[in-house]
Symmetry: C2
Subunit: 564 residues, 2 copies
């Protein structure tokens, strides 16, 4: 007898589950329940629609050949019944029935199932701040939200906007607004934007945003939305300062839509995501779950986490379909934690653990390296790329990577993600055989060069010092002797202004007398990217200096203001 | 006592060895011997210099900050003695002395060493074809070659050129010439260009080249260079045809410069590359070798091979420096065989084994998949990308990947290379956690989608047929029933014209009567990229058809002429 599959959710995971079930079982009855009007929305594309990369909202729900993925499409092409504007109200697990309500008519009906799939997604967290209901406060979660924000941009009604929250969606929305000529301020309660990055990497992105005219306020939360006649006029932040604005977008995160599952007695984790086993099966063997409503295993920490990402949702959907049709045969083991974000001319991405997270998760003995370099030979029109690597000191096991810059970040993060999936350690990554040609990378790819740096530190061929550590020393009045190894012309153009002494690398050996004569003196070396800084540290160590560190990433990775 | 290191070779591996030795040993005496005038040339950049991506030859030998890497630079900055225009004549291994000759003066001298490093590179193979000495026949191996070819381009003296050999350098040179307005013909003796690709992938690149006005002749060799007054006028090929031209570039490969090592009694392999152990040490423990003069281990086949690549040379150089200074501590295990090439708007890359090579190397039971898709969501301005994967059928072990197209090939080849380094199998690659955002990839990255296709075939959810197989069936009069699943408007725009029947996917279930009624009939389905073709094959199989195959890659990967 034909199996009957009911899928709750029609955005990312749901349609993937339903479509893949159809490919595996032509005879099955498949019903997909969607609360909203639209199906298969490319919701990650909303900021690009708002920002004018394209103007037809239909593109967000169209197949590559331009056919709208509406109920007729699902019926005709995939023989799937898609019920839109229909809410799943409750699950009768004993009777294997789902109660649904048609939203426009209010009519309820029961739908029986052999297997049920929950793919209810996540919803934006909207904080209970005074004034939150004022006109002009938005989220960017639905097609309707996207159309509303697009209209603000196109009509030029918005002049000054605040983005509350500096995560992925906040930053993407900020870019869209600012490029559309809206004067935009990002307010982030934490001390940095883009929480998947370490502070000093996030600061480089923030600096780039500021260079594009965006205002970024970190370490302060919104305490009140201020209005006039019900219309937003500004926000008050925790310092008491008021920032005037006519529109605001709340993007402080999303929470899993797991109440339906919870009310049905299914297990929900501490993350509030629905618990699933490695087959994406819930605590009821006839019910599976996929996408933003679930929690998944982090393959590095082995902890459960909520990981609301469109790519993971799609992959989980495929696994669920295989398992509901063929019995549990396909595993979804978890995620390593990979994300990426375009920020004006920058890209910021990460995979695995940041230093901050690694330390918080109890990886005590870690080693890091920050590497800055052009992402191609100079003659090919290279762009800067800054990479941070994190590894376990005792084993050399690779734990995580971050990259920011105008160079090809996406490729290097993808490579690092593959390395984490392959559980590689440092010594397995020093001699990678990668696709090299001048249009694509330097002869030693930036990722490998970063691994070399990490290995050099690991093998005590160099000591590194982070800009944060150096700044703290300077600020506390314990500044080391700081040595800039660039040429005078370079120094003329760009200068940190932190009390450094300029000795071009080529003149170092003959100018050792200009250094502190106490061989225990702390010396920090750098140049534009700290390659010459590294060579200088080798020379100084060979001349008996015992406390020489290289400023990692050099000027290119310096997150603080420069003298010029 | 200070160690004395002598490095023979000043191009890629040599300077890397010398510079890294210096960083590890400030006291060492380091002498670098270079036959030519220039040092540290970015020789992979020659085609881009010739083609006008940049015009200053100095950029090829400059540091990122624009300083020429000449003997003064090496002396001043790195305290390395670089002897240019100096040839290494012979090695006295017993006396640990190298005999060198200054080329301009003819003066010979002996240089003693504690450790010797051979990094003599490779030379172009120049075939002994009649007329080979005519004026107008070039190679592209040296700075001087690059300047000569650049002059041909800039002066517009060359009007019609022939490139002999369709490998990496040949194709890059062809692009440079054609873009400069030179009417260019590539002649390749094998039945395809770019031998690291399988035929049908190489043919897609060839088609793209032809669309740019290049002529490509495969399966025919040059038998004679024809001249007049000592000047090249044309080439005769094995079919007897004559192609007129005023200039020709020979790029049929390179051979390792291993005679110095051979004459010194060092072991040289079947590839003619110098044999080294995993520490890059030759059969003499005081002599190491690195770069294009060596042979390396292929980590997949475990065979030795000559692998003349700039990135490998640099990595080997680093390993050699570590081992000569600190004793054998760092291993260079080998290569997986990765390469990439820009070809006009296309990129073509590969890593690991091609199907052809895998079969030749005795991997009998392999499975392949060809996947075509846009490399981003359509609304972000996607470009097509065609990926071929090769895996072992019995174990699912991943063996190789090729990618071509105008999309981001470089990222996907790099990912595949990482997968090979991590020794992943299919089941470990179906749920990769990669950096997804709309500016960078589809929600399911093309590489993962290709793995899904491979898994679908592996698990017998679909059968694939390659365009080569389908064409052979058609040509032999045994054409299957061919079904195009696209819409009528798409068919109107683009049509294979191989006897196909058009039934849009959405109409398939209600038009089964139009199919052969014999359920054993061979049916081939396709669409633009064969996703709808795949869905159709699922429907047909569910309706009892037992011999349904999907044309892999669809129209996007069809290498033969189309009706329109």
């Amino acid at each position: 007898m034909a199996q009957k599959y009911v899928v709750i959710g029609g955005s990312a995971a749901g349609p993937k589950v339903a479509s893949k079930i159809r490919r595996l079982d032509e005879q099955a009855e498949i019903i997909m329940i969607q609360k909203g009007k639209y199906l298969s929305m490319a919701s990650c594309g909303y900021p690009y629609f708002v920002g004018g990369v394209f103007d037809d909202p239909g593109a967000l729900i169209a197949t590559p050949t331009g056919v709208a993925r509406d109920p007729q499409f699902f019926s005709k092409v995939k023989n799937i019944t898609a019920l839109i504007e229909t809410e799943a109200m409750s699950i009768d697990r004993t009777g294997k029935k789902l109660l649904v309500k048609n939203i426009p008519t209010g009519k309820e009906e029961e739908i029986s199932y052999d297997k049920l799939v929950i793919a209810t997604g996540a919803s934006p967290v909207v904080p209970p701040i005074p004034g939150i209901d004022l006109d002009g406060i938005h989220t960017l979660q639905s097609m309707e939200d996207a159309v509303t924000l697009k209209d603000l941009v196109v009509s030029k009604k918005a002049k000054k906007a605040v983005i509350v929250g500096g995560g992925l969606i906040g930053i993407e929305t900020c870019e869209a607004f600012q490029l559309a000529g809206i004067d935009t301020t990002v307010i982030e309660m934490q001390d940095q934007i883009l929480p998947f990055l370490d502070w000093e990497m996030a600061k480089l992105v923030e600096n780039h945003m500021c260079s594009k005219g965006v205002s970024v306020i970190t370490g302060k939360g919104v305490t009140k939305f201020l209005g006039e006649n019900g219309k937003l006029k500004g926000v008050e932040i925790s310092s008491g300062e008021v920032i005037s604005c006519d529109n605001a977008v709340i993007s402080i995160g999303v929470k899993p839509n797991s109440s339906l599952a919870l009310n049905a007695g299914l297990k929900v984790g501490d993350s509030k995501g629905i618990q699933v086993n490695r087959f994406m099966q819930t605590s009821d063997p006839f019910i599976y779950a996929a996408g933003d409503c679930t929690e998944v295993t982090n393959l590095i920490t082995h902890n459960k986490q909520h990981f609301p990402m469109g790519d993971a949702a799609n992959l989980q959907g495929r696994v669920v379909a295989q398992n509901v049709v063929r019995g549990n045969s396909e595993e979804y083991n978890g995620v390593i934690g990979t994300g990426i974000c375009k920020v004006f001319d920058f890209t910021a991405g990460s995979t695995g653990l940041s230093q901050k997270i690694a330390e918080r998760e109890g990886f005590q003995n870690i080693i890091t390296a920050v590497h800055a370099a052009p992402d191609k030979p100079g003659f090919m029109g290279a762009s800067p790329l800054i990479i941070k690597l994190i590894a376990a000191k005792s084993t050399g096991r690779f734990l995580g990577m971050q990259a920011v810059g105008t160079g090809d970040v996406s490729k290097r993060v993808a490579m690092a993600a593959m390395a984490l999936h392959g559980r590689l350690c440092i010594s397995e990554m020093v001699n990678l055989d990668l696709p090299y040609a001048p249009p694509f990378s330097p002869a030693i790819d930036n990722f490998i060069a970063a691994v070399h740096l990490l290995e050099n530190k690991w093998q005590h061929q160099m000591n590194g010092i982070s800009p944060v550590e150096l700044k703290a020393k300077i600020d506390s009045g314990k500044a080391p002797f700081i040595l800039d190894l660039r040429g005078p012309d370079e120094f003329e153009q760009m200068e940190l202004g932190i009390g450094e002494v300029l000795i071009p690398l080529g003149a170092l050996r003959s100018n050792l007398s200009k250094l502190p004569q106490n061989k225990d003196a702390e010396i920090v070396t750098y140049c534009k990217i700290s390659l010459r800084g590294y060579e200088a540290s080798c020379i100084l160590r060979a001349h008996g200096y015992t406390n020489v560190s290289v400023l990692e990433g050099g000027i290119a990775a310096w997150p603080y203001p420069r003298k010029k």
